[in-house]
């Protein structure tokens, strides 16, 4: 069964460094998402991406964050200058259809980001 994959599974970085989290969505899916979960808290929406552009972003997704789909298969989340509070689990998700279709989002296994 197709699945969303994410790399790396765990990333440790120093404050102020740039990180890129990578995701490979399910191949025929059209909508892509990043969510964040700080340890012990709920999952929060960061950004959605469709047709090679951001369709919605949350207030968390400030200028330090960017997303890209560089080659038609990968979907990346970049944090330019990491802060301690960026430490969290980052989930990528993808979805096949939009309005009128299935709303099920398939999640990747997550990348645990630790900022020291």
């Amino acid at each position: 069964e197709p699945e969303v994959t994410q790399t790396p599974s765990h990333q440790v970085t120093q404050m102020g460094q740039e990180v890129i989290l990578r995701c490979v969505p399910i191949s025929n899916h059209l909508y892509f998402y990043w969510y964040r979960q700080i340890l012990g808290q709920k999952v929060e929406f960061l950004v959605s991406f469709y047709n090679n552009e951001i369709s919605e972003k949350s207030e968390i997704f400030d200028d330090q964050f960017s997303v890209e789909r560089p080659d038609g298969s990968n979907f990346t989340l970049k944090i330019r200058s990491t802060k301690l509070e960026d430490s969290a689990m980052y989930f990528c998700a993808s979805k096949l259809l939009g309005s009128g279709g299935t709303y099920e989002q398939y999640f990747g296994p997550g990348t645990r980001l630790t900022v020291t």
Partner: protein, 116 residues
């Protein structure tokens, strides 16, 4: 604002028993989808069950079933014949029908422990 509330931070159940996890939500939308996701210690997000708001019949997936009360905006999850592998954090999530992105809105989760 659309919100999802899970009022039980933690629950415990004996193996083979039945347990019900509560979820309420607030929305002015008439059409939407509701989901229960399971997050085991590995922190992978696994879809357990989905419910379309326009369907009166409660969804069922093997040992998992929901009690969807649209007027009360309630969406509880019943796990029958609980198994040790059901031990996990369970998140209730909501997504409105239509709209540009269909981002998932999550509750704060209920940590379920299945005791042998």
């Amino acid at each position: 604002a659309q919100t999802v509330t899970q009022s039980q931070p933690e629950m415990s159940v004996q193996e083979a028993e039945t347990v019900t996890l509560s979820c309420t939500y607030d929305t002015s939308e008439n059409n939407y989808y509701l989901f229960w996701y399971k997050q085991p210690p590995s922190r992978q997000m696994i879809l357990v069950i989905r419910q379309e708001a326009y369907k009166q019949q409660n969804a069922t997936e093997n040992r998992f079933s929901v009690n969807f009360q649209k007027a009360a905006k309630s969406f509880s999850l019943k796990i029958s014949d609980s198994q040790l592998g059901d031990t996990a954090m369970y998140f209730c999530a909501f997504v409105p029908y239509g709209g540009a992105t269909n981002k998932l809105i999550f509750g704060t989760g209920t940590l379920l422990a299945v005791q042998p």
